[in-house]
Amino acid sequence: MAANAKTDRAAPVNDATYIIFIVLMSTGGFFAYLSCNSNEVVRSDGTWVDMPKEPTWKTEIIWLWYTFLTYPFVVLLFPMFFASNFFYTYQFNGINQAHFNTRTRALNNLLYWLCQIGGAFAFGYAIDSTHFRRSVKAKLAWIVLLVLTMAVWGGGLAWQLRVPDRQNNQSPHLPTMDWKSPGYRQAMVLYMAYGFYDAVWQSCVYW
């Protein structure tokens, strides 16, 4: 984002952006090597981590099949798995790319993923809390998801109805907003809410 902060048109990013990405990814990979092996980890209360036997691909498939037989209701969760990535296309292509110039897109992405981190933290702590029983937490989680779905996407509807739309055209030249444009604040809040919502949904699904 910093590398593109001066580009206030909807232009392709410059080469430096890609170089920075490669450097960041390599650094991340290097840091991964520094982490401890699972079988050497000691928790804060002194217990060791149990290492399960490493499964082969055959045992994985067999256990997957076994899971379906013993817990058939898992199939009901499949729409949630599907939905958790379904809206990425709309949010990234239909909102971010279509309506904002380069640097604003970068800012949007930064805020989106920051909110994801925040959402994951918040939901993670909430779902692990011992104040409520597991069944109660499950019901609360569903209600929270329902409320968030209606609230966040209701706001999204309001915003989508206000901005210009395309009509069966792959790359229309819609007017692009900058972060200094009026009306950007609502879009920013909406986009951050989308990021938070994604984190909550995914955390719930993984839980």
Binding site: F73, L76, P79, F86, F87, T89, G94, W153, D165
Partner: protein, 144 residues
Amino acid sequence: MWRLDGLGKPFLKEFLSNWIVLAVALLFAFPVFFWKITDYVSEEEIVEDAIGNATVNVGTIANPAHSSATAEALTINTQSGHSHGNNLAEPQSHSCGRLEPRNEARLFYGALQSPKTDSMMTLCEAVILTAPEAVAQEARGATV
């Protein structure tokens, strides 16, 4: 969604399709969240990675933290209760009731002392013994 986007559908239609997919997914997941996620774990499966090839109907475990003790207790039970090996191996067909932790001990002693369990332990009613308790039971000569 990619295909729809590639075709250049209006954004509003994309938005609505997303919203509907999310709502339907939540609807499908409703039964799971409300009826399938429970406070207790009812294990009716094979515990063969814990105790070898014995097939045991474990019953209700109120606290999953005791599951490691379960393995030891079941090992002791299957080793020592030879005359009741058949009973232990036959899975019970009725469903396990819900156990609150404080009722564990009461139900356990009730199962041991009641007439119908003087020669067998109905695993659905029994509580998982911890290993030291199982050894003490054996020492007292109680039927397990």
